[in-house]
């Protein structure tokens, strides 16, 4: 037997052991520190417009516009929520209707095959407003990823579990709420992780073209002013946003999927 008498009522030894205390990420800190030191050494020998020192980058960081960061984050968050809702809705429609899936799949494949740069060009050609352009690009890039992941996740729900639940005669809504969605949750969270990093990269490129706010625009300005330190500073901000966003999703994942072995 896996559970034994050491566990208090309602809990097992494994559940208690699962509460691992916080572990300092030593390896990550060490490797990043080594990289930072190497960079600093390199900056002593290379000209500042090629490899700026950490001091220069830090000074540039202080001058960056915080509102640009906030604007980019709002754009990413808004577009991801919209993509998620659209992706989930269409995936459920495809799951429930074979004709919708048969006709819809090729369209989704086509959308996914179009390079991001082409979408940005289409957005510039088709839409007048910058916010619409950016939202369009993000949704058309991230939406299909959510859709395909959800659909595959729903299809992967074991037939055994579906038959078990079906034997209790649930309504269709109950089948989704009690089985399909919880079973697909790991896929949904992985999809969020993928789309977060994808969206942050795509929004920056989209902001390079036509936007007058946001991190992408900040990068364009820095490049036009030949301020390499500022380009690096913006890059650091983007990397930090990605790290934090992934850490947040991982934390949610840890809590939501604590039932996993």
């Amino acid at each position: 037997m896996k559970a034994d008498a050491r566990a208090p009522a309602g809990e097992t030894v494994e559940a208690l052991d699962a509460r691992v205390p916080f572990r300092f990420p030593r390896e990550m800190v060490v490797s990043l520190l080594v990289l930072a030191i190497a960079w600093e050494i390199l900056s002593k020998f290379a000209p500042p417009f090629v490899v700026p020192s950490w001091g220069r980058i830090a000074r540039s960081l202080m001058t960056l516009r915080a509102d640009f960061v906030a604007i980019t984050l709002v754009r990413v968050a808004g577009a991801l929520v919209l993509s998620f809702v659209l992706g989930l809705g269409l995936a459920i429609a495809m799951y429930l209707s074979t004709p919708i899936e048969r006709y819809g799949r090729p369209v989704v494949r086509l959308l996914m095959a179009v390079p991001v740069v082409c979408w940005i060009l289409f957005a510039v050609l088709w839409f007048k407003w910058v916010e619409v352009r950016i939202a369009f690009v993000l949704i058309v890039v991230c939406g299909p990823v959510f859709l395909v992941d959800f659909l595959d996740g729903m299809r992967a729900v074991p037939k055994d579990l579906r038959d078990m639940l079906w034997s209790f005669r649930p309504t269709r809504v109950q089948l989704f709420a009690k089985l399909i969605l919880p079973a697909t949750l790991p896929v949904i969270l992985t999809s969020w992780k993928i789309n977060l990093s994808l969206a942050i990269r795509v929004v920056t490129i989209a902001e390079l073209v036509g936007a007058v706010t946001g991190i992408g625009y900040g990068l364009v300005v820095a490049q036009e002013l030949f301020s390499v330190a500022e380009v690096f500073a913006w890059t650091l901000v983007l990397v930090a946003i990605l790290f934090v966003a992934e850490a947040v999703v991982s934390r949610i994942e840890e809590r939501a999927l604590r039932w996993r072995v």
């Binding site: 559940a15 639940l165 005669r169 109950q174």
Partner: protein
């Protein structure tokens, strides 16, 4: 509340079509029998003889190709929703939802039926206690042993207090000690609750131990024998066991069993 069901099976036939080739595979050739209320009926047969297919038809997961299967006059497939809360199944694998704790798995059918949360929890905890799992109510399935998980699955079925209980090789994959204990628990509770029970098994011992009646299926499924165990004194059970084994090997009815069953009717 327990309303036991009567099951009528007449001219039942089921064929499947193989994916790709489209070739028809006969799973159930023809079945005709009746299961009375409160009976505990064991179905035995070779592996792949259509026992589980029959159970799926009984649960309403699949539609017969021909003939009829009815519980209290209603067909489980066509009158699907009318069986809400009236039947529960225990399968070979526990089929617990891995993201739900033991108590949450047990209360699942009650949740689907719209019971108030307090009542769901109370009933679920009562059944876990009756099956000796009160200390593990908060444990996730992966934290429990195979036997404990199967007990949770049994608690889930019993918590619904259904009229009809179906078990598909529910004890076969466990070690003998655990399996025997669970079989005993199942029979005790099912009798106390007055359930009609249909048990599919490939283990003859299990069928003889648990059933009031044994239906022996040929491969593909047709009825080789319908044996009422109360007509067979324990001294004659070894002989009966040998006759059933012979039937399963030859795929033909046994004249001695047929004569005996017909005489006693």
């Amino acid at each position: 509340m327990t309303v036991a069901e009567a099951i009528e099976v007449s001219g039942l036939r089921k064929t499947f079509h193989q994916a790709g080739t489209g070739a028809a595979v006969l799973a159930i050739e023809r079945l005709d029998f009746v299961i009375r209320r409160g009976e505990m009926v064991a179905i035995v047969g070779q592996t792949g003889c259509g026992k589980s297919t029959f159970l799926n038809l009984l649960i309403g997961l699949d539609r017969p190709s021909a003939g009829r299967i009815a519980i209290d006059g209603k067909t489980p497939y066509d009158d699907f929703a009318s069986f809400r809360g009236r039947l529960a199944a225990v399968f070979q694998q526990d089929r617990l939802l891995p993201w739900r704790s033991a108590v949450d798995n047990v209360r699942l059918p009650l949740e689907l039926l719209g019971y108030e949360r307090g009542e769901q929890l109370e009933r679920a905890r009562t059944w876990l206690e009756r099956l000796g799992l009160e200390r593990f109510a908060g444990a996730y399935p992966h934290e429990l042993s195979g036997g404990m998980r199967q007990r949770v699955a049994l608690a889930r079925a019993f918590a619904l207090q259904p009229g009809l209980l179906l078990a598909d090789e529910a004890f076969g994959h466990l070690d003998e000690v655990t399996s025997a204990a669970l079989r005993q628990t199942f029979v005790e509770i099912a009798r106390r609750e007055g359930n009609t029970a249909v048990l599919v098994t490939h283990q003859l011992e299990e069928a003889i131990e648990m059933g009031d009646r044994i239906l022996v299926f040929a491969k593909p499924a047709r009825l080789l024998a319908d044996i009422s165990l109360r007509r067979w004194p324990s001294a004659e059970l070894p002989g009966l066991r040998a006759m059933i084994q012979r039937m399963l090997q030859t795929n033909e009815p046994d004249p001695e069993i047929r004569r005996r069953e017909e005489t006693s009717r």
